[in-house]
């Protein structure tokens, strides 16, 4: 048959799915390959075979729409089947079925942890092959469902939205279906299935395309948890993957997502932290949410009931969003950070408290928070273990950096910078990858954090979190702005806390996110910038917030950044928050921008900020006024929120003058975050 005819036939047959489903079969054994091919043809699938994994990858990369499903042998001479499995899952998000003559439990488990949607034993029977089309369908549903769910949740989640809801939604999609779109985060409840971020992302208005793998919040959480468990040093993707035990989650996915999430989370966290710092977790959540986008915010508002899951939930949304676009990223980050933060936040939050007190700079805290979040995320990803502390420290530094924040915010500082900055300040910044944050510019730090995140991400080669990085950075930046002193103060406060440890801790505790919030206490000075940070991070923040909120509450001592700071910050947040809602998707990206803007806006807004802060509740709401630059900041924040979380926390503390702050924190957080971002 001529190619055109063949193609036509194939096309026609595809309409009668599962008839005509396009399968790519890879097996180095010619006998098995021939048998498999014939069996598949008998099932009326359209089969392409190759005996080399390299060729298979090439074919898939050339045109990922060429196939619906991949079946691969486990033992191949040129490439390990699991590796191929990971790559396919990560890059193309196609369902992959493993084949092997070896049916040992550990091998099967390995297949599952690497993301296989099924594992068949040789000799394969035709009956088994007749059903493999379900994996394709399941995946599609999963993605779609998740996206819808996430979106739904985000939009409709009442302030006290129950994080579990998110889980619920997500769970249905996730499971085996594998990655709905890029990163599927299975929302599954326990640790972590990160809900399909994709769903969220896809629905996200700003999400232009469906992410391949949905880095659900849960996934993120799991990721964070796994990372935490493993410790930064040992947190290699593989182990994380195994720990997470998420189906089809490939390492790459995770890493990338994680990074993204971190940034998102960081920002979120920051916001959350801010939120939390001040008040009840609810606020934090709100804060985070604001960061994420107001939607997220609402979920964050649920922070009060914020549970790690809750955070995760938001992250999930975020995660989903992450996939789609920048905004999602923040969400994911948030989610990621949320998850991470959750774990960490809790611990970190505590830590942050410590640090925060010093810093009153609410903004800073916020910024930090957001940064922390982002950083946290990054950190988590990379470092799991003491990322938080470092992040925090980094964040702290970032704050200290003051001034730099602005710079940071404006441009996604390379994480390194931030890290450095923060580190400088914080001194101990432990792992913060972005640790550069510690460098003087909190801003830088924040941005750095985000960038770090990005870098981290890039390392993973997963998601180009650039947006996040900036977010991370932003946070730092924002901190600095206002707070230059404050930040320093806060950051220092934060850092002393344990710099990184705290943050990191939060991660583990999952409260991490909240921790950030606390950390973020970025001095209100950080103002708007930071606020935006929150906004930016809102994506993450949402997630983070959640966590942050949770964290914060206990710890956030934030003291609320001086109200004045808050005001500014808040103001910043507000806009960002608003923007957040509006631009959830953008938030992540915006993070970077936001920060820069937030700072400016923050400052301006500040006076009224207090009320705005509450943005957490309101912010989320698509206030359209958001077009403020702040929103941008927010987005930025969100990204930074990752790392900021800690910062945020601190900021939150700072900002809140204690009273308003808590409430405001939510808002402020955003701002600060935004600013930071």
């Amino acid at each position: 048959m001529r190619p055109e005819e063949r193609k036509g036939v194939v096309e026609r047959r595809r309409d009668q799915f599962p008839v005509g489903m396009r399968v790519l079969a890879v097996d180095d054994d010619p006998v098995c390959l021939k048998v498999l091919e014939t069996l598949l043809r008998r099932c009326q699938y359209h089969v392409t075979t190759t005996n080399q994994a390299a060729i298979a990858l090439k074919m898939l990369r050339e045109n990922r729409d060429m196939f619906d499903l991949v079946i691969s042998d486990v033992h191949m001479p040129d490439m390990d089947g699991f590796k191929l499995l990971e790559l396919v899952g990560l890059e193309m998000d196609l369902p992959v079925i493993m084949l092997s003559v070896n049916g040992e439990t550990k091998t099967v488990l390995k297949g599952i942890t690497h993301g296989a949607c099924d594992y068949l034993l040789k000799p394969v029977r035709i009956e088994e092959l007749r059903n493999i089309w379900q994996h394709v369908v399941r995946r599609k549903f999963s993605t779609r469902d998740r996206a819808n769910l996430d979106m739904y949740e985000e939009c409709n989640k009442p302030p006290n939205a129950d994080p579990d809801q998110v889980h619920v939604h997500v769970t249905c999609g996730s499971d085996q279906s594998g990655r709905p779109s890029k990163k599927r985060k299975e929302y599954c409840s326990d640790e972590e299935d990160e809900g399909e971020v994709n769903t969220q992302e896809t629905d996200d208005p700003s999400a232009p395309k469906k992410p391949r793998v949905v880095w659900s919040v849960e996934l993120h959480r799991k990721f964070v948890a796994a990372v935490n468990q493993l410790g930064i040093d040992k947190a290699v993707p593989k182990r994380i993957l195994e720990l997470m035990n998420v189906d089809k989650l490939t390492r790459e996915n995770k890493y990338r997502l994680y990074l993204k999430r971190l940034s998102a989370v960081a920002s979120q966290q920051v916001s959350i932290v801010a939120a939390l710092g001040g008040r009840d977790p609810f606020l934090h959540m709100g804060a985070f949410e604001g960061l994420q986008g107001y939607q997220a915010f609402t979920s964050s508002t649920a922070l009060s009931s914020f549970t790690p899951h809750g955070l995760l939930n938001s992250p999930r949304n975020n995660s989903a969003a992450l996939g789609t676009q920048g905004v999602p990223a923040s969400k994911s980050i948030q989610t990621m950070s949320g998850s991470h933060t959750l774990s960490h936040s809790i611990s970190d939050a505590k830590k942050y408290h410590l640090s925060v007190p010093g810093n009153q700079q609410g903004n800073l805290g916020q910024g930090l928070a957001s940064l922390g979040q982002t950083q946290m995320q990054q950190k988590w990803i990379h470092e799991e273990t003491d990322d938080l502390s470092t992040i925090l420290s980094g964040n702290g530094l970032a704050n200290g950096m003051s001034g730099t924040l602005q710079s940071v915010t404006s441009s996604p500082l390379p994480p390194q910078e931030l890290v450095e900055c923060t580190q400088a300040k914080i001194g101990s910044q432990p792992s913060i990858q972005t640790s550069s944050v510690s460098s003087e510019h909190l801003e830088g730090a924040i941005g750095v954090s985000s960038s770090l995140l990005d870098s981290r991400v890039s390392q993973l080669s997963a998601i180009p979190l650039s947006g996040f990085s900036s977010n991370g950075l932003l946070i730092h930046g924002s901190f600095n702005n206002n707070c230059t002193t404050k930040l320093g103060g806060t950051s220092s406060a934060c850092t002393p806390v344990r710099s990184s440890n705290d943050l990191m801790v939060a991660r583990d505790t999952k409260a991490g996110a909240s921790a950030f919030g606390g950390a973020m206490l970025l001095p209100p000075d950080t103002e708007q910038k930071y606020l935006n940070f929150g906004g930016g991070n809102s994506l993450k923040q949402k997630f983070d917030q959640r966590t942050a909120n949770s964290l914060f509450d206990p710890k956030l001592v934030w003291n609320t950044v001086p109200s004045s700071q808050l005001a500014t910050n808040v103001g910043a947040h507000h806009s960002p928050s608003q923007r957040w809602n509006n631009s959830n998707s953008n938030s992540t990206n915006i993070g970077a921008r936001m920060i820069g803007q937030t700072t400016s806006s923050a400052s301006t807004v500040i006076p009224q900020m207090k009320t705005d802060f509450l943005i957490s509740g309101d912010m989320l709401m698509p206030k359209n006024s958001s077009d403020l630059s702040i929103p941008k900041l927010q987005s930025e924040l969100s990204s930074s929120s990752c790392s900021f979380d800690g910062l945020l926390n601190s900021i939150v503390k700072v900002e809140k003058d204690d009273v308003t702050f808590s409430d405001d924190l939510g808002c402020v957080d955003f701002y600060s975050l935004g600013a930071c971002i």
Partner: protein
Amino acid sequence: MEYSNLRRQIVFMKKNLFDQGYLDEQFNQLEDLEDESSPNFLEEVVALFFKDSSRLLTNIEQATDKYPQDFYKLDSLVQQLKGSGSSIGALRMKNECSVFKANCNDRNLEGCRRSLQKIKREHATLKQKLESYFQLLRQVGPRDYAVSSRK
């Protein structure tokens, strides 16, 4: 009549192969896959198997001589052989491969060598039997469905 005699012989031979454990259900599955578009599918796959497995066996033997301590390598080579064998339904060979793998696990080189010899014997025996089987089949001509349609 000649035809039906042949047919009976074929059936008988096949039954023997199954009873003696040389073949298992997979072989039948492959036979069922034959249709108009791939009338000699089974024979083609079996031929392919023997060609590939001869090569594999040579590799395994060389490996046991050259890298006797590299059990991991031996194991993975035999695993390939086991995979192909199971794909065509070569039951005895498959089982012997499992024994070999167990020996590898125990790092029992002697055991591995013994297993390898057994695998080779099974391989040779199966090859011979299946060759006779296909010869008979060729004499009979295309499968029943085709024959009936002609009638």
